[in-house]
C-alpha cells in the first residue's frame, strides 16, 4: 500500500499564455489533514480540477492512492471524494436521491446505497434529513450533505475546495471539525482554503501562491513557531 493518499509531482498547467500552475509538487500522507493555503486565484481550484480530471494533466504526475491518474483514471477517481467550491447537489431532489445518484455513478447498487446512506448521514450529523429536499436545507447542512455524498463510495482521500465559503461561523466550525474527525477514522483530507483560522499547528500545510508551492510540511515546522498569517505574508512577499 503506498504511503501517500495523494502524490503530485512537477505538475504545471496553462490557460493559453497564462501559467496557472508552475511545477507544483505536494503529498498528502494517509490519514492526514493537509491544508492547501492560498489566496483567491492562487491556483487551488485549477489544481483540484486536474486531480479530479476535469482538466487533463499534460505534465508531471498525479497519483491517487498509488494509481496514476492518466494511466488508470477509473481506479484513481474511484478513490477520490470531492466537495467542490460551488454547490453541486441537485436542489430539486432529496438528499437520499442525490446520494443514490452519486453512488450509482460509482457503480454502487441501490440496496447497498441505502445502508451506506444511513451510515454517512449519521457521520455528518444529518440522520433525519435523508428524505428532505436539498433546497430545504440550510447552507451548513447542504455542505455537510455534500461531504456525506463525497463519502458514500468510501474514498481514501477527500478533496474539499473552500468547503466553508458562505457559511456562518458556527457551520464553518462544524464542517472543519467533521473533516478532522474523518481523518481520525482513516480518510485523508486535502483542505483548500484561504482562511488561516481553519489550520492547526499539527496539520500538513502547502502554501500555494500564483501557481507555485512556496512552502510545505507540518504547519508548525513551516511557521517555525511564528504566526501563520505573518509567515504567509512573508513567504508571499505581501508583508511589505
Amino acid at each position: 500500500m503506498p504511503q501517500d493518499a495523494l502524490s503530485i509531482q512537477n505538475v504545471s498547467h496553462n490557460f493559453g499564455a497564462f501559467h496557472a500552475l508552475k511545477n507544483v509538487s505536494l503529498t498528502v500522507p494517509r490519514g492526514s489533514f493537509t491544508a492547501l493555503l492560498g489566496v483567491n486565484g492562487a491556483g487551488k481550484t485549477t489544481l483540484f480540477s486536474l486531480i479530479t480530471r476535469l482538466y487533463d494533466n499534460t505534465s508531471g504526475r498525479i497519483e491517487v492512492a498509488g494509481h496514476d491518474l492518466r494511466r488508470e483514471p477509473g481506479a484513481a477517481l474511484a478513490r477520490l471524494g470531492v466537495v467542490f467550491q460551488s454547490r453541486s447537489l441537485d436542489a430539486d431532489l432529496t438528499v437520499a436521491q442525490n446520494l443514490d445518484y452519486h453512488a450509482a455513478l460509482h457503480g454502487i447498487t441501490r440496496r447497498e446505497t441505502r445502508d451506506r446512506a444511513t451510515e454517512v448521514m449519521a457521520l455528518v450529523g444529518l440522520s433525519d434529513k435523508l428524505g428532505v429536499r436539498v433546497s430545504a436545507l440550510s447552507g451548513g447542512q447542504q455542505r455537510r450533505a455534500e461531504i456525506a455524498r463525497a463519502l458514500i463510495h468510501r474514498p481514501e482521500i477527500l478533496l474539499l475546495d473552500e468547503a466553508t465559503v458562505g457559511l456562518d461561523v458556527k457551520s464553518r466550525a462544524e464542517v472543519v471539525a467533521l473533516t478532522r474527525n474523518l481523518t481520525r477514522q482513516g480518510v485523508s483530507a486535502l483542505w483548500a482554503t484561504h482562511i488561516m483560522d481553519e489550520i492547526r499547528p499539527e496539520d500538513g500545510l502547502v502554501i500555494l501562491h500564483k501557481g507555485q508551492v512556496l512552502a510545505s510540511g507540518r504547519t508548525d515546522e513551516v511557521t517555525k513557531g511564528d504566526d501563520l498569517t505573518r509567515t504567509f505574508l512573508r513567504l508571499t512577499g505581501e508583508d511589505a
Partner: protein
C-alpha cells in the same frame, strides 16, 4: 477495494443516470405539459388552418390522400424529440453553471459512457412524451395502423438519439445559459421549418430549388421521414443511413468536446 468496473456496476451507473433524468422530468411537471402542449397546438390549430390552403398529393408512405393533420403528425413527433434534445442540452449547460456537472464527470466511468447514458435516458423520456402525444392525436383522426405504434419505436429511438446527441454536442459549445436563445434562433427553428415536418419536399421545390436542397440535406428531414415511414410499417433506408451517420457524428463530436484533454473543455478556464 477493487477498481475493476464489473458489468453490474456499468448497469447500476446507467440506471442511476436514467433514474435521475426521470426524476427531474417528473419533478418538472411544467416541462411535461409544455412538451405536450406545443405539438398539440400545432396539430389542433395550425394544421386545421393549413388543411384548407395546402393540398397534398399522394406521397409515400401514404397510399391515398391524407388529411394535413395526418401528414404533419410525424413532423410533430420529431419536434417533440428535437425540443427534448434541446431541453437535455439546456439542462447540461445549467448543470455546468451550477456545478452539478462535476459530479457526473468525476465518476470513474469513462466519459463516453456517462454522456451516452445521459443521452439514452433523455430518449426514454422523449418516447414517453411521443406516445402520450400519439394517443391524444388518435382522437383527432390521426390513426396509423396499430402495428405502426410498434414499428415506429426503433425509429423513435434512433431519431431521439440523433437529436439528443446534437443537443449534447451543442451543450459542450455553449458557454453560458444566456446563449441558449441563440440556439433556438439559429438551430431549432431553421431545422424545424427547413424540413419535411410541415410540408412535403416537392412543395419546397415549387417555391425554391435552393430551399428544397437545404431541406433534403437537413438531418431533421430524415428523422421526420424515418418516423413517418416507420409509423406506417415501412422502412426508409436513406433516412436510416443519414440519421445513423449523424448520430455517430454528433455523439463523436460531443465526446471529443467533453474530453478533458481535447476540445473546448480543455481550454475552458473555470472548469465544468
Amino acid at each position: 477495494m477493487s477498481h475493476a468496473l464489473t458489468p453490474r456496476m456499468w448497469l447500476t451507473a446507467f440506471l442511476g443516470i436514467a433514474r435521475r433524468e426521470t426524476l427531474r422530468f417528473v419533478n418538472q411537471r411544467g416541462r411535461f405539459l409544455a412538451a405536450l402542449v406545443r405539438p398539440l397546438v400545432w396539430l389542433f390549430i395550425f394544421a386545421a388552418g393549413f388543411r384548407a390552403v395546402l393540398g397534398l398529393s399522394i406521397t409515400p408512405p401514404y397510399q391515398t390522400y391524407v388529411l394535413y393533420e395526418v401528414y404533419v403528425t410525424p413532423g410533430l413527433v420529431a419536434m417533440i424529440q428535437l425540443f427534448n434534445g434541446m431541453q437535455s442540452s439546456l439542462s447540461m449547460v445549467y448543470d455546468r453553471e451550477t456545478g452539478a456537472m462535476r459530479t457526473l464527470l468525476v465518476s470513474p466511468f469513462p466519459r463516453w459512457f456517462l454522456l451516452g447514458s445521459k443521452l439514452v435516458a433523455g430518449v426514454i423520456v422523449s418516447i414517453i412524451q411521443v406516445y402520450t402525444f400519439l394517443a391524444i392525436a388518435w382522437f383527432w383522426d390521426v390513426e396509423p395502423p396499430p402495428i405502426g405504434y410498434l414499428t415506429v419505436l426503433p425509429a423513435l429511438i434512433l431519431s431521439g438519439l440523433m437529436l439528443g446527441a446534437m443537443g449534447l454536442f451543442l451543450s459542450s459549445a455553449i458557454r453560458q445559459l444566456e446563449n441558449f436563445a441563440g440556439v433556438m434562433n439559429f438551430v431549432i427553428f431553421p431545422m424545424f421549418f427547413a424540413s419535411t415536418a410541415l410540408y412535403p419536399l416537392w412543395r419546397m421545390r415549387e417555391s425554391s430549388t435552393l430551399l428544397h436542397e437545404i431541406c433534403a440535406i437537413n438531418p431533421f428531414t430524415h428523422a421526420v421521414e424515418l418516423i413517418r415511414f416507420a409509423l406506417y410499417g415501412q422502412f426508409d433506408l436513406l433516412s436510416f443511413l443519414v440519421v445513423t451517420g449523424c448520430l455517430i457524428l454528433f455523439f463523436g463530436a460531443a465526446v471529443f468536446m467533453y474530453d478533458p484533454a481535447k476540445g473546448l473543455w480543455a481550454r475552458r478556464k473555470g472548469g465544468a
